[in-house]
Amino acid sequence: MVLRSLCVLRAQAAASLSGLPAALLPGGSGLDLPGSGLVLRSLSTDVFQNLALEDWIHDNVDLQSRSILLLWRNSAAVVVGRHQNPWQECDLRLMRRSGVPVARRRSGGGTVFHDPGNLNLTFFSSRKNYDRARNLRVVTGALRALRPGIDVRATDRFDILLDGHYKISGTAAKLGRTAAYHHCTLLCSADRALLASLLRPTCPGIHSNATASLPAPVQNLMDHDPSLTPESIARQLAQQYLAEFGSGGLSVVPVQPSDQAFAGIDRAAAALRGWDWTHGRTPRFSVDAALELADGAAAATASVRLEVKAGRVEACRLAVAPEWLPGGPPARLAARLLGARFCPSEAAAVAEAFLRAEGGGATGGGATGARLRARLGDLCDKMVALM
C-alpha cells in the first residue's frame, strides 16, 4: 500500500480554521485549493453540532465545481430521518435513562444508531453531480483496498452489505437549491447490544404514515477483521475519495464546528437539539394502547386513544370500566392532556395538577375515597409510562 505524498505545508495552511471557511465560500480568496475534491474531518463528537456543520457546508460552500467528503463520528445517539416518528423508531424512555439523545436529520431515510464505533461520511456535490453509486464505490473500494477479497456490495437501496447479508452501511440524502449531500454510516465497532436495545418502539399501538425504517441484521467490520478500525478506514476512505474526485494532494483537513468562523452553527445546532425539531416535527400519529391497572389483587384494563400532532396531544379518549373508576375523572384527565407535549415530564406535570384538583372533594372521604384516589394515581402513572 503506497501512501500518497501529502502536501504538508498546504495542509497546515488549510488547517488554519478561520481561513478554511473563507476559502470555500463563493468568491473566496486566500487559499488556493488545488483539485476539485476535499476531505474534511470534524473534531466534534456532538451529533447536533455535526448535523449543523453538514447544513452549514451545504448552504455556504460553493459546491458547483468542488466536491467535499466530511468524515465524522458521534457519541452515542439515535438519528431518525426527516419524516420519521421517534416514538415508533426508538425506545425514548430507555434512551432518556441511558443519556442517549435522539436527533432528526434533514435528509430522508430510516433510523440509525451512532456511536464512536460508527463512521459517518457525507458526500457534498452540486445537484448535477449527485451520484450515490459513485460515492459508495469509494467506500467499497476503500474497504477492498484494506482487506482484499472482502465481500462488500452496495444494494439498489444504497445499503452496503457484508457477505451479502449483513448491513454495514445505510444511506440518506438531501437535495437542496443548487447542491446536494449524500451521507451514509459505516459500522466499524459500534455497540451492537445498545443498538438493538434502543431501536425498538417506545410504545405499542402507534399508527402513523411517517416513513418507516427497514430493520436489517447488522455487523461490525472490526468483527470481520480487527484491522478495520474507524481510524484505518477513515484514512483509506480519504485516499480513495481524493483519487476518485481528484485532488492536488491535500490531506484530510480537521474542522472544529464551534470555531466562530462557521457563523451560525451554534444557533443551528441548538435548533436541531430542540424538542420542536426532534419530536415536534413528527408527522401526525395516533396511539391505541391498553393500560394495565392494578389495585392490590384487583386489576382492570383502560383503553387509551391519543392523536398526536406536532408532538402534542390533539385528542385523547380514555375508557375505564365504571366499576373500577367513575367516568368523570378519566374524562377530566383526558381533557387536561389536550395541548400537552406527548412526553412523560409534561404528562407527569399535568397528572400532578389533575390529582391535586381531584383529591378530597371529588373522590370523597374514607376508605372508598382513598381507594379511588389510589386508582386514579395508578391510572396517571400508567398514562405517563406510555409516553
Binding site: G81, R106, N209
Partner: protein, 175 residues
C-alpha cells in the same frame, strides 16, 4: 387583477406556439383548456383556469380566480424525484417569503426541499397526500397540488417563468 393579466399572457403564448388554431381562440380562453399539447399544464376544471408560472426550482404556481395561488411541482421535477413516499408540508397559517424553504418531498432518491414561489401565507394544504403521496407523481398539475397560499405581492409573479420560458429552461439544463 393578476389572474386576468396571466390569462392574457396565456392566450398570446398559444397563438405563437400553435399557429394552426383558429383566430377566434383569442376571444375564448375557455377553448384553450382542450388543446392537447398543453393539457398536462392546465387544470381540467370547467371554470376558467389561469396559466402556470414556474420557478427555476421547478415549482409551479397557478393563481385562481379567488386570488389564491395553488402550488405544486412540475412534471420535470416529479420525474427527476422518482416515487414520492412522503410529503412534508407546512402548517396552515405558515408565512412564507419568496424562496423560503417550506417543506420537503421524500422519495427513494432523497429528501428534496421545496421553495416558496412567492411571498404569502399558507391557506390550505393537500391532505390527500398524507395517504397518497404518489399523487405528486401521477398528477403533478392537478390532484397532486401541494399547498395553496395567499399572494402578498402579485408583482413577484412577473419574475417567474411562463410555460414557454420554462420549457426552454428545461431544455437548457438537460444539455
Amino acid at each position: 387583477m393578476a389572474a386576468r393579466g396571466v390569462l392574457r399572457c396565456l392566450s398570446s403564448n398559444f397563438l405563437s406556439v400553435l399557429p394552426s388554431i383558429a383566430p377566434s381562440v383569442q376571444h375564448s380562453p375557455r377553448l384553450l383548456t382542450s388543446i392537447s399539447s398543453f393539457q398536462r399544464a392546465l387544470a381540467t376544471s370547467s371554470r376558467l383556469s389561469a396559466a402556470l408560472k414556474f420557478t427555476d426550482k421547478h415549482e409551479w404556481i397557478r393563481v385562481e380566480e379567488s386570488g389564491v395561488g395553488t402550488v405544486g411541482i412540475s412534471n420535470f421535477a416529479q420525474e427527476a424525484l422518482g416515487d414520492v413516499v412522503y410529503c412534508g408540508l407546512p402548517e396552515v397559517g405558515a408565512k412564507l417569503a419568496q424562496q423560503d424553504e417550506f417543506g420537503a418531498l421524500e422519495s427513494v432518491k432523497a429528501a428534496s426541499e421545496l421553495y416558496s414561489p412567492l411571498t404569502g401565507e399558507v391557506v390550505e394544504i393537500n391532505t390527500l397526500l398524507a395517504d397518497k403521496p404518489g399523487l405528486v407523481n401521477k398528477s403533478c398539475y392537478t390532484d397532486g397540488w401541494l399547498v395553496k397560499m395567499s399572494i402578498d405581492d402579485p408583482a413577484e409573479l412577473e419574475a417567474l417563468m411562463d410555460e414557454k420560458a420554462y420549457e426552454r429552461y428545461i431544455r437548457s439544463i438537460e444539455d
